[in-house]
Structure formats: C-alpha cells, structure tokens
C-alpha cells in the first residue's frame, strides 16, 4: 500500500481522475463510458509511440524521428493501397512494421556502429524521412476516395465493445510490458540506462541493445503510420508534424527519466492518456483550442519538477524492482 501511494503511476492516475471529475461536475456527459472509450481510442496512437520512445529513452538515447517515420510509412502504405487495392490489409500492416523497423534500424546502426549521438542521428533522419515522404508522394495527398474500404474500416471495427484501434494499443502495451519485465532484453534496457559501464561488465552489449530499442521504436512508428493514415483517412507529408516532441512529452509526464534507466509501461501509457484527456476536456469546458499548447507545456514542466524531486529522494531503484518482479 505504501509503495502504491508513493508510485508515480498512482499520482498520475489520480491527476487524470481529478481532471475527469472536474470536467464531469459541469458536463456530466464527459465521463460517459462511450466518451471515455473515445478518448482512449484517440490516444491509442500516441500511446504506442510513447511505449517505443520509452524503450529508447531508457537506454539514455532519444528518437526524434518517430513522427517522420510515421509520416513516411503512412505515406508508403497509403500509396501502396491506392495502387494495389487487392493487397489484404494484414499484409500491409506487416509491411508497415517491417518498413518502420528498417527505418528504426537505420537510426540504430548509426548509433551502434558509428557511435553518433542518438539526438544527432534522429535529428538528421527526422528531416530525411519526412522529405522522403514528399518524394514518394510527389507532394500530393492520398485521400479517402483512393483508399480501399478494408484499409479504412479495419481499425473502426468493434471487437468486444472496443474499436480495433484500441485493441492495437492494448496488444502493443501488453507485448512491451512482457518485453520490459519478463525478458533479458527488458532488463538490459534498464541496466544500460542505470549504469552503462556496469552493464558492459555484466556482459550486456550496449550498442546492440540500443539498436534494438531503436528497431522497436521504429516498428511501432511504422504501425502507427498505418493507423494514423487510416484513422484520419488522409496521408500527407505533414502527417503528425511536430509530433515527436509530444511523444517525448508523454514519456516525461509518465515519469520516464530522460537520463535513462527509469520508466514503466504503465507510466508511459498514463502519460499519453493524461495528454489525451486534457486535450479532449479543453473544448468540452469551453476553453479555446489555442490554450492547448500552453497547457501541455505547463503539464510537462510540472511533471519534470515532480519527477526531479521524486528521483532525488528515491534514487534509481527501478532495476531492483525489475529484479524482484522477475
């Protein structure tokens, strides 16, 4: 109970609840199950991206290319669908995962083999990937009329009361949770973040582990590419423009330490949900959407301040936790 009270996730969940309650006092319809599901569904893509980003940040790296990866993969899959509508959608999704993972692997190789700092590599690929999306499409859009019905409708289908898009997020979350807490890879991510030198002495290949984190982040960005394009039924070069920092922000709000080694799947999900709830609540309570940016900025700063104070008192015990769990 004590640990539960001290945990970051509890406080974040309480903060989300507080926002929900405050909005509900004035607008009871806001917390109707249907609307809550909508918010969850709207946040699914951000959640998946945040989970990939978390793996990267855990290893003391950062992936600024996620939104560009999303735009490029989304554009490629939309073009493919427009040109060859008979290709089944699951095959296209698999293709997205492969393309996204390949783009992530390119980042990872540069970080692993050439030792270029991740922030520099992904700053470069951020511009390259988005530029390639323009080249691939010739600057045009792929719109709803060019996409096949299956392509658009797959994620809108409802399974056990939830849209398929939400199921994608849930499945990804479960898989990443298992990866992080039940496999040697997960422990390697944490170990590198906590102490890279010690990690080397325990036989962990630091470069290869970082590479894997980038591949994971890339694959999830690729998947998000398909989901984004089919959700908004348009593929343009500007898809998810500037989204990379929102993804990092979701991680930071969720308690993932930018210095590496600290962060949980639950935290990253709640961080993304917090942004989702706030963004959905603003128009409902009549706050102009122009406030949205300033409010998420405040939320990020507040989260960092809280993070910093809790990290100082607790120290980095996340690895211990992982050991206990395993």
């Amino acid at each position: 109970m004590n640990r539960l009270l001290k945990s970051r996730e509890t406080w974040l969940a309480l903060a989300i609840l507080a926002v929900l309650v405050l909005v509900t006092i004035r607008f009871p319809r806001f917390t109707q199950p249907g609307n809550l599901l909508t918010i969850f569904n709207d946040t699914s893509i951000l959640m998946m991206l945040a989970l990939g980003q978390m793996a990267v940040i855990l290893t003391r790296s950062i992936d600024l290319s996620v939104a560009s990866n999303l735009a490029l993969t989304g554009m490629l899959v939309a073009l493919t669908n427009a040109a060859f509508p008979f290709i089944p959608v699951p095959l296209l999704i698999a293709g997205c995962l492969v393309v996204g993972a390949a783009l992530g692997a390119f980042n990872g190789i540069l970080v692993w083999k050439l030792n270029i700092p991740p922030i520099v590599v992904t700053l470069g690929t951020l511009t390259i990937y988005r530029g390639l999306a323009f080249v691939a499409s010739g600057g045009t859009w792929v719109n709803a009329s060019q996409m096949s019905t299956d392509f658009i409708q797959l994620q809108r289908g409802v399974f056990l009361g939830l849209p398929v898009l939400s199921w994608f997020a849930i499945v990804v979350a479960v898989l990443v949770y298992i990866l992080m807490t039940r496999t040697p890879w997960g422990r390697a991510f944490y170990a590198i973040g906590v102490n890279p030198v010690a990690a080397v002495y325990t036989g962990i290949n630091v470069g290869r582990t970082k590479f894997l984190a980038f591949v994971l982040s890339g694959a999830l960005s690729g998947l998000a590419g398909y989901l984004y394009v089919s959700k908004y039924v348009i593929a343009s070069t500007e898809s998810a423009g500037g989204y990379e920092l929102t993804v990092v922000a979701a991680c930071v709000i969720g308690g993932v330490s930018i210095a590496g080694g600290i962060g949980t799947v639950g935290g990253a999900i709640l961080g993304a949900l917090f942004l989702g709830v706030v963004n959905n609540a603003l128009p409902v309570i009549g706050v102009s959407p122009f406030w949205q940016m300033a409010i998420s900025g405040m939320a990020i700063l507040l989260a960092v301040v809280l993070n910093a104070t809790s990290e100082r008192s607790k120290g980095r015990i996340i690895l211990k936790k992982a050991e206990v769990a395993a």
Binding site: R60, S61, I62, L64, L110, L114, N115, I116, P117, P118, I119, V120, V121, L123, G124, T125, L126, T127, I128, R130, G131, L132, F134, V135, G139, P196, V197, V206, G207, T237, G242, L245, V248, A249, V252, I258, A259, S288, F290, W291, Q292, M293, A294, I295, S296, G297, M298, I300, L301, V304, V305, A308
Partner: protein
Amino acid sequence: MTDISSTGRRLPDRLDNPLKSVVMSWESLLVLVALAIFLANSFASPYFLNAWSLSDLTFNFTEKGLIALAMALVIITGEIDLSVASIIALASTLMGLALQYGADTPTLVAVGIAVGLVCGAFNGFLVTGLKLPSIVVTIGTMSLFRGIAFIILGDQSFKGYPKEFAWFGQGYVWWVVSFELVLFLVAAVIFYVLLHRTNFGRRVFAIGNNATAARFSGVRVDRIKFVLFCLTGLISGIAAVLLTARLGSTRPSIAEGFELDVVTMVVLGGVSIMGGAGSIIGVVIAALIIGLVTFGLGLLNVPGIVMTIFTGSLLIVVIALPILFRMYKERRA
C-alpha cells in the same frame, strides 16, 4: 543524454584554440564542403553568381545563425535549448501587441529583446535553480511560450509595422550588405572572442568536459549556465526583431521548426552534443553551408521539404565521414 562509449571528435585542449592546426581540422572539412556546394550552385544556376542573389542568400541563415552562436555555448556546457523558436514566436507576438498600443520602433525592439531575455531567464532558472534536465525543460517551455503566443493571437496576425522597423529585416548597411548580415558577423566575432579568448569561454569548456571538476576548481557552474540561457533568450529576442521586421507580420506559427535547424547548424559546426568541444568558426561555416544548400536548391526549384533531405543527410554524412575514416585507418593499422 550522455553516452560514455562515444568520445568527442577532438580533444578539448585543441578546441580551445581552433586555429592551431588549420589543415586537419573540422573547420577545414566544413570549408571544403561549403566550397563544393558553392561551386555546384554556380554551375547549376546562371542566376547564382550575382551580388544581389548572394546577398539574398544570407537571409536564409542569419537569424538562425545568430541563435546558433549562442546555442553553441549552451551545448558546449552540455545543455540544450529547444525553446528558441517559441521564444521568437512569443517575442514577436508581444511586439505585435505593443504595436496595437501604438508603440514606436525603439519600443518595439526593446519589447522583443526584453521578452527574449525574460524567457531565457525562465529557462535558466528551471535548469539551474531547480536542477532539471534542460532538454525536458525546454520541450516544456517550447510548448508553453508558443502556447501563450497562440492564446494571445489565436488565428489572427499582427500587421502594420512602421517603416523604420522594417529596416531591421530588410535594410542594407552598405550597397548589398544587409543589416542582418552585418549583425551576424559582428555577433560572430563577439562570440569568437568570448568563447576562445576569455576566461568565461574557458569555463564554458570546463563545464562541458566535467561539470563536477569545474565546480571544485571554483567555476560557478550554475551561474554560467544561467547566463548562457539568458544570452540564448536575448539573442532569440533579437532574431525575433529581425524576422518580424523581414516578414512584416506576426503569426503564432512564426519560426516553427527553427530550433532543429539551429541545433543542426551547431552540431554540423563541430560542437559535440555531449558538451565540452566546439568552435565558433565551425558554427559560422555550418550556418553558411545551410544557407548555401537551401538557396542553391531553391534556385533549382527544389521544394522546401525535399531540401530537408539534403540538410539531414549532410548532418549525418559530415559527422559519419571522419568516424568511418578513422575506423578504416584503425582496421588497416
């Protein structure tokens, strides 16, 4: 964001003194790249080698280059400021607001610079006072500053700046030499002296190499970092004046994406993102390279977004080349 396994590209004691070994230095590599792009441009377009077109070229990088000078110092201390573009947006918005209350040109400039300074001080306080990681703080203030600009402006824009004000962004000091270029060059000299010829500069390098050691040798690490964030904010305020004057209007989306271009210039200029290494000359040449690339591609009618492929690849290739070269040499040895 540190990685112990990767070392800086050069030894810091040499970096204090970038002119020491001119031949085999990062700067000479950059000069070669710049010359190559310059030659490519002159062959590619008959309109390139022309005083006015070369002068237009400078507008591609002066505002970002100015910020890059200050950003170089911040990055050398191992910090980063991603909020610079949002500082421009906020400063520009408040200048526009002041304009609505009938402010004259000197007041407008003062407002722009003051807003920049205040924003920088806010960043500096959060980073040094509360000991927060600068990358996260400035991601937060990036949304916050631009968010305030959006709150004030919504989807409106401020127009109708006085004629004298436009001179800051459009005026020429001598024939084709623009005020912006002169300001950039003067600032480059000041920053060169500050970083490479003063005790302050030496302390900046010391902090980047080992902040703890610097603290124990009497360097006031936090105060210097605070000053640098204020300086970056101040310069961003100046850039806001230039950009607003050049465009003649203020929108909340002004200077969007500048922060990444500025960081690209700094890193391309040979400043280690891990801190502790870098030179102002490198940053100036890198700013010129970015200007040449964008202008040259513009002459060839390459769309803006495709240009980013070139700048991004340039960043990666220029940084990867020396590493690949060293690996090749080690393998042969």
